[in-house]
Each structure stands twice: as C-alpha cells, then as structure tokens.
C-alpha cells in the first residue's frame, strides 16, 4: 500500500513537470513578457522604458531559460523559467499584479470556497443518490419516466438561470437571505445557504441520471437475482446489495474532485460575491493578471493529479477485489 502510494507519487512527477512546461510555454513563450506588460500599461502610447520598468518591478526582465550574463548557477537560477515556473513546485506563487502575495491570498481565500463547495458536494450527492434510488425502485413505471424527463429538463436549463432566478425569488422578492456577500462564523450561514442550494439544484439533473444508470446496471447483474432468490425484500436488495456495489463508481467519481474543491466554483462565487478562489480566478482573468492565472492553473492540475491518486486508493478501501500492489 505504502509502496503503491510512493510509486504513484513518483509517476506523478513527470506529469507535473509536463504541466509546468506547458504553463511556462503558454504564459511566457506564446505570450512574451513584453506583451504582458503592454497589455497592462495600455496598448497605445507605451514607451519601451515604461515596459522595461514594469518588467523589472516584477522580475520579468530576466531571460527566459538561460541567463548568459550571469555566472555559475545563476545562469540557470536567474531566469524567468526558474523563478516563475519551477518555483511553483515549492508553492512559491510570487506576487500578483497589485503586489500582494498570491500564496497568502490562496490560504485565506480557500476557506470561503470550501464553505460553499463542501456542503454543496455532500448535500448534492445525498439528494441525487436518494432520488436515483427512488427512480431505480420504480424503474419502468411512470414515476421513473417522469423523473428522467424532469432530470433532462433540469440539465438543459443553464446554471445562470438557477443563480439569477434564485437570487431574484429568494433574495429580492422574499427577502429570506441576502442576495450576495460573505461573512465568517455563524453570521456567514445566511450568505452560504442560497449558493449551496443553487449549486445542489444545478447539479441535480445530471447526478440523478448518472446514479440511476449505475443502479440499473447493478440491478441487472446475477448477484441481484441470487439475493432475490434468497427471499430478500426488494428494498433490502436495493439498499444493501445494489447500493453497496453502486457506491464504488459513485464514491470514486467523487474522490477525483475532492481536492479540486479548494479551487471553488468560478461562477457561483462571482455571482454571490464570495471571496473565494473561484472569484479570485475570475477577477484575475478579467484583470489579465497572468501571475494569478498561472498559479491557479498549476494548482488545479496538481490537485487533480492528487484526486486521481486518491481515487485509486479509495478503490482498495471500498472494493474488496482490488488490492494495490
């Protein structure tokens, strides 16, 4: 088990290096530091001096890969690639364009993100699994048919509709909770409720349909026939036998995204004014703050790879057939 985790972590290294190189190429080669500076300072009437000064302030004045002017290790370390790209491995994200430490921002902003994402995920799975079980129980009947139809309608409606509609109804008409904003502690609760509910509803259609297929697939298997032949009730067949087996794909599907929950939801957070990492990323994209975007892309990839590793490990925990070697 330990050996497996170590080996998988080692396998992750080349992938991470690849991701790192890719972000480097995207952010510094395709888009040269000059372009970035010009984008910030305005396209017209920019003097070369202003560009150089902007670059120097942010450490973008160094050569990309090899520093000819420096001596010794400086040749390698005194470069943009080393300082900006490789440093990501040490979680040194540098500073954003407004001069604040990105690492600092991440560590404070991830909490609001989690405050929304974790309840959304847990409640979402609970609700989707319950409804999916219900449809599976009544499979082939009108309840099932209409359930699926409603799921498809819910999937076809844009997520923005739920957000704006929810804010209008609950916040503006009924005045139950504030339309947007955030606070810590108990006071935060009223800000969290609406985004969580809307996050759950937005994902419900797809979730129910997916889990229903998992359940129906399991229901067609031979061991279900054995369970029925034992004289077990249909609900027991469904809740112990089918649910236990279907939880394997459900859980592993969830584990993949667990680490990325830190990153928050781009749209939900910006619409509800949650100061999380999702809105941070959106703001950075709007402000063309490449340092932040680069940090978030890299962080997202690392967390996703972590998720894949956790998935494999979770298989060993829920499925007795899988033993990692």
């Amino acid at each position: 088990m330990i050996a497996y985790i170590i080996r998988r972590t080692l396998y992750a290294i080349p992938i991470l290096i690849g991701v790192n190189l890719l972000t480097f190429v995207l952010f510094f080669v395709v888009n040269s530091p000059d372009d970035i500076a010009r984008a910030h300072l305005g396209v017209k009437h920019v003097t070369q001096d202003a560009i150089e000064k902007w670059k120097a302030e942010r450490g973008y004045d160094k050569p990309l890969i090899i520093n000819e002017r420096a001596a010794g290790v400086e040749k390698i370390t005194g470069t943009i690639f080393f300082e900006k790209s490789l440093a990501l491995f040490a979680f040194e994200f540098g500073r954003s364009d407004d001069g604040r430490s990105i690492g600092q921002e991440i560590s404070t902003r991830m909490w609001p993100s989690l405050a929304i994402a974790v309840p959304t995920l847990i409640i979402g799975i609970g609700v989707a699994v319950s409804f999916a079980l219900l449809l599976a129980f009544f499979r082939g009947s009108y309840i099932d048919l209409w359930g699926v139809v409603i799921c498809i309608i819910m999937m076809s409606v844009s997520g923005l509709f739920y957000i704006i509609g929810g804010q209008y109804l609950v916040g503006k008409l009924w005045h139950l909770v504030p339309i947007s904003g955030y606070d810590v502690g108990v006071h935060g609760f009223k800000f969290i409720v609406l985004p969580v509910v809307i996050g759950v509803i937005g994902g419900l259609g797809a979730g129910i349909r997916l889990y229903r297929t998992f359940f129906l697939e399991e229901l067609g298997k031979d061991y279900v026939r054995t369970a029925r032949a034992k004289g077990l009730s249909e609900s027991r067949v469904l809740f112990t036998h089918v649910l236990k087996n279907a939880m394997i794909p459900i859980l592993t599907g969830v584990v993949v995204i667990l680490p990325t929950l830190f990153m928050g939801s781009l749209i939900l957070e910006s619409f509800f004014g949650i100061p999380g990492l999702g809105s941070y990323t959106i703001d950075a994209i709007q402000a063309q703050d490449f340092a932040v975007v680069r940090a978030m892309v890299f962080l997202g990839s690392v967390l996703y790879i972590l998720g894949l590793l956790l998935t494999d490990i979770s298989y060993t925990l829920v499925d007795p057939r899988v033993r990692l070697a």
Partner: protein
C-alpha cells in the same frame, strides 16, 4: 404419494416486436418429495424460464399463467410478501454462473447470514455458527476462517459450493439447480454433483435439476422431463429414459452424442434448428426436423399421453388413433446411423493420402512463463509456469487431442504455437521451418498454414464485419485468392464446404446461431489453405445436437483435405470419438501421451484416471 410441487398448465410469455414469444407453453409436472427431477432440453427450450416462473423471479417483461402448487398453496396466487417466505425458504435456487452470482462486495458469511436471518430468524453469533456449519457441510475447508472471505477469494467450484450453502440456509424442501455445473470443469463438476446427491439424501430434499447434459441426467435423476420448444415432449423414469427413450427428439439427442462407439462414423444430427417461439404452431413442433414425421404430424398437434410402461410422451407414434395412419415403416426406433446425404464418410484412414504420415508440427520442450511483477518498480518476483516443458508431434491427417482441466495450460500451448504468445524456451517446428525464428513477412506467410478456431465463435468475430469480409480477411492478408471476383467465388465455395448457403456472405455474425457462427469460423480458417488447425474447445459452447454437426464437419474436412487437428478440449466423449492420439496435460506438463485407444482404455497416470472417472457415464444401451 402426494406431490411436493405440482405445476399445472404453466405458460410464460413475452410480448416482443415479432409478436408473443411463448417460452413456456402449457407445461404440467409433478415433483415428489425427496426426488431428483431432471428437466432436460437444449438452449432456448424454456428450462430456465420454467424455473424462474416457479420462483416468481421472471424478468419484468414476462407474464405467466397457470397454477404452481407447493403442497396446497398456489405460488402464482400468493401475495408477494408470502412469496418471499417461499423463496429461499421452502424453495431455494442455485444458478449456472457461480462466478457472477455472488455479491462481490459482501463476505460470504454475510451472504449466508442474510438467508439465515430471513428464514430462520438467526442473528449475530448464532447465525455465524450456523453459517460455518453450512460451509462445512458443502465441503469448504477451514470454514471458520473462510467465512470472512469475499467471493473473489474462492474458485469457481467453491463459489458454487457457497451458493449451495446459501440455498441450504433456509432448509428448503425443493432445491432448483439451473445448470449448476455447466460452467465448471469435469472434475469439479463431478464433485458438485456428488455433493448435491449427498445433501439431497441427507436432507430428503427434492431437486429440480435443469441441464442439457445427458451425462448429468444419467448420473443424478430419478425422473426426467424433456423440453422442446417450450413444451414437455417426454416424461420418464431414468431407467426407462436411458434404456429406451421414446420421443424421436430424445432418441436423436442420444444418437448425436459422440463417443467411442461412434468412432469413424458420422454422428447423427438433428437437421434444421429449434423453431422460433413467436409463431403459432399447428401440428407437432418437432415435425420439420423429425425423420419419422408424416402428414398427420403436420396437421394434428400431438398431446402428452401416458405411454405404456409408465411415463408420458408427446408423439403420434405412440397414439394408437394416429399411428395406424402412418404410411409405412414400423414405429420402432430408427437406426442410430441416420447419415445425411453427402456427409457419409468412411472410417478415418491414415495413410490414405500421400505423405499422410509426415510429421507436420513438432513441439519440443515448449515453455511459456508469465512473469509476476510486484513492488515499487514492478520488479519481477516470480513467474507462472503456464506451460513447462511440453513436447508434441502432430502428423498430417491426424487428430491429436490435448486434454486437461482449465488452467492446465492447454490454450497457452495452442496460442504459443501460433506465436500469439511469446515462447520462453523450446522450439516449434512446422515441417523444417523453425517457427520461433520467423519474423515479419516470413512469419505471416507461415501463419496461413496454421489456423485456430476458438471456443466462443461469438467473440472471435468482429460484429460489424460482413461474413464475406470475415472470411476474406485472411486471404487478403496472405495475398491470395486473386482478384475480387475470384475471391468471392472462393468464399462461396468455402461456405458451401462448411455447410452454409453462399447467400449468407452478406449477412452479419449476430444473425447466426452458435453452430452457424462456428461454421463461419471454420470457413475463415480454411480460406488460407491451412494444413493444421488448432481447435480450442470448438464445441464446448454448443448444444449436443449442434456439436454433432460441427464434429461431423471437422471429420469430413479432415478426410477430404488431409488436415491435422490439434484438438484442445476437456470433453472426453469428443476425444473418444475424434482423436487418434491423446496428450493429457496437468499443471503445464504432459503427464501422459499415446494412442487414443491406449490412453483411454488403459490410462497409466493417476491424473488421467481421475479425469476419466469424473466423466459422467451415460448408462445407455439401445
């Protein structure tokens, strides 16, 4: 004695796009307490659906009608909640696929415990003690420890034992066993049947044993019902059935069995196929395939009538009112050799053809080892010696049977000869050519000479390719068959050679039955003019009557074309019928090798004896 279970006029049907499919059509049966009642029939005859109707476990699209009396309760009219007490309680069921019939994520103890709780009200420690006792009763060693294991930690035979333990948990009066040994090896099969026999005697439990295997009937049954196309066509005691089967279909089943007595002869075949069950029948359902049919058979539906000497039979030959109307010939049993026109062959005659005695394929010291990798860097920590020093010689026009249980390495030998698997050491000579030294084009050229056909004709064909393309594929790869026109003409000839109409070449694999698909596979193999065909269990997925057709075909092709077969099988009846030489394989080695006659009648090695004694013998003397 009052019957334990009494089925009266049971029908089970599906509404399909082709109309109503009557899978079980008005059958009536009685099963006495403590008897083993066999339900015999070919694939699709409605055996499983009869059993599922009893348990009320039919698929949602099925409907059934009739009466099923268990003592004095009609199961079909019981409310579902009472039916649950019957299921697994008074009537238990085990299935054909032990591999998939257990829940993979629950320990076997839990799975037995569920049945104990539902029917005996046992929980916790009591349930566990009882579950251990049940595992012990079905012959699982160290039950105390194994009870916490999961299904994947058991072999196929042991899983079937666990299934039986679950079934016994409710102490049923009737155990329905749907092909309980079909998916298992001969030796395991014998053990499971033995176990069922013992349990049945100890507990005075009745068994409804569903099977398509006459050997199993002969070994187990007290009484037999033969099903054909959804109907019961014959009911008899075992003795009666084995010594003098009455229905022409039953007789044909016996005649199509391969075996030593049939050596050199063609097996009797039942022409045609099981009719689709969506039609409405007029007359006898077997009439289109029956050698004894006459006009009355096609006009009047025969009834299931009591026959002389006990039992029942559904055939006009036994109905005095109609049999007198039969034009000629006595209604006696037809001779066993109902050889089809054109299929007549003499005894296999080695030496008939020039160079027939030449050694075509010589395998010496063949080893195939698979590495086991473990640890941080997937280091090789050991190896599975699938094939460990096998030497064989195959002569032109002869059949060498390679027999052994599953896992003994038979298939690996076949595949490595064809270089479908890398050889660890040893050499394989085709004539004077060392196959192992060939690469690229030279290898491809030699591949034509050696062909293989597999057990499962379904998965060995690309479902999206037309028959013509499937057959032509090898020819194109070998650059033979000339232009498009010549190739099509050759495909027509090949299809005719394997007994298919040339029109089928524009159809797709799913439109064919198992037997027809195997014919296509044989045509594909023949397309490249092979001299050797490796047949890997080519008939074990097929029913006896279809198996007979394929064996006849292989035999005829051998005589006509001088083919050599390396015949991989675990079916001794086939070996007795077809093989000239036999090699017995056990744990990667050949433990016995010699002429078929000698190995089968005077086995030297213990393992061979064990294999032979596990084969269900059919005590049939006609």
């Amino acid at each position: 004695m009052k019957p334990l279970l009494s089925i009266k006029n049971l029908s089970t049907w599906f509404e399909t796009s082709q109309g109503r499919l009557r899978a079980v059509d008005d059958i009536s049966l009685d099963i006495a307490p403590g008897e083993v009642f066999a339900l015999l029939g070919e694939s699709g005859s409605g055996k499983s659906l009869t059993a599922l109707s009893l348990m009320r476990l039919l698929p949602g699209t099925a409907r059934s009608r009739g009466e099923i009396w268990l003592h004095d309760e009609d199961l079909l009219r019981l409310p579902e909640i009472r039916m649950r007490e019957v299921r697994g309680g008074r009537v238990a069921m085990i299935f054909q696929e032990p591999m998939t019939s257990l829940n993979p994520v629950l320990s076997v103890g839990t799975q037995i415990g569920e049945a104990l709780r539902a029917h005996r009200g046992l929980k916790g420690k009591h349930a566990e003690r009882r579950a251990v006792a049940l595992l012990d009763a079905v012959g699982i060693a160290e039950p105390q420890r194994r009870i916490h294991d999961y299904p994947h930690q058991f072999s196929g035979g042991m899983k079937q034992r666990v299934m039986i333990a679950i079934a016994l948990a409710g102490e049923p009066e009737l155990l329905i066993a749907d092909e309980p040994t079909t998916a298992l090896d001969v030796t395991i099969q014998a053990q499971i049947l033995e176990l069922l026999r013992t349990l049945q005697k100890e507990r005075n439990m009745a068994i409804l044993l569903i099977t398509h295997d006459l050997g199993v009937v002969s070994q187990m049954a007290d009484r037999v019902a033969v099903m054909y196309a959804g109907e019961v066509v014959e009911l008899a005691s075992r003795a009666q059935f084995l010594s003098a089967p009455r229905h022409p279909y039953s007789q044909k089943l016996f005649d199509s069995l391969p075996g030593r007595a049939q050596r050199g002869k063609s097996l009797a075949v039942i022409r045609g196929m099981v009719p689709p069950l969506t039609q409405t029948f007029s007359g006898c359902r077997f009439a289109p395939r029956c050698d004894l049919a006459w006009q009355t058979c096609r006009d009047v539906t025969p009834a299931l009538l009591a026959a002389e000497g006990g039992g029942k039979v559904r055939c006009h030959l036994y109905d005095a009112n109609y049999s007198v109307m039969r034009p000629a010939a006595p209604p006696a049993r037809l001779s066993a050799c109902n050889v089809q026109a054109g299929a007549a062959v003499g005894p296999a005659a080695p030496g008939m053809r020039a160079g027939a005695d030449e050694v075509l394929l010589k395998v010496t010291g063949l080893k195939v080892h698979f590495p086991i990798r473990k640890g941080l860097f997937k280091r090789k920590v050991g190896e599975v010696r699938a094939v460990d020093g096998v030497s064989l010689a195959l002569r032109a026009g002869r059949t060498l049977a390679l027999v052994g249980e599953s896992g003994s390495g038979k298939t690996t030998v076949g595949k490595s000869i064809l270089r479908l698997l890398p050889i660890t050491s040893g050499d394989v000579h085709y004539g004077a050519v060392d196959l192992d030294s060939l690469r690229g084009g030279a290898l491809r050229a030699q591949r034509g000479a050696l062909q293989i056909i597999f057990q499962d004709p379904h998965s060995s064909m690309n479902p999206r390719m037309m028959i013509a393309d499937i057959v032509a594929e090898g020819m194109i790869a070998q650059g033979m068959g000339g232009d498009e026109r010549a190739r099509l003409a050759r495909i027509d000839r090949l299809l005719e050679q394997v007994g298919l109409s040339p029109d089928v070449k524009y159809r797709y694999p799913h439109e064919f039955s198992g037997g027809q698909r195997q014919r296509v596979c044989i045509a594909r193999a023949l397309a490249v003019n092979p001299r050797i065909i490796i047949c890997d269990e080519p008939t074990s997925a097929l029913d006896v009557s279809v198996q007979a057709q394929i064996l006849n075909l292989l035999k005829r092709l051998q005589d006509e074309l001088g083919l050599a077969y390396l015949f991989i099988t675990h079916n001794f009846a086939v070996v007795e019928y077809l093989a000239h030489d036999v090699a017995v394989m056990h744990q990667g080695r050949i433990v016995e090798h010699g002429g078929a006659e000698q190995v089968l009648s005077n086995p030297q090695h213990d393992y061979t004896r064990r294999l032979l004694s596990a084969v269900p013998k059919i005590a049939h003397h006609a």
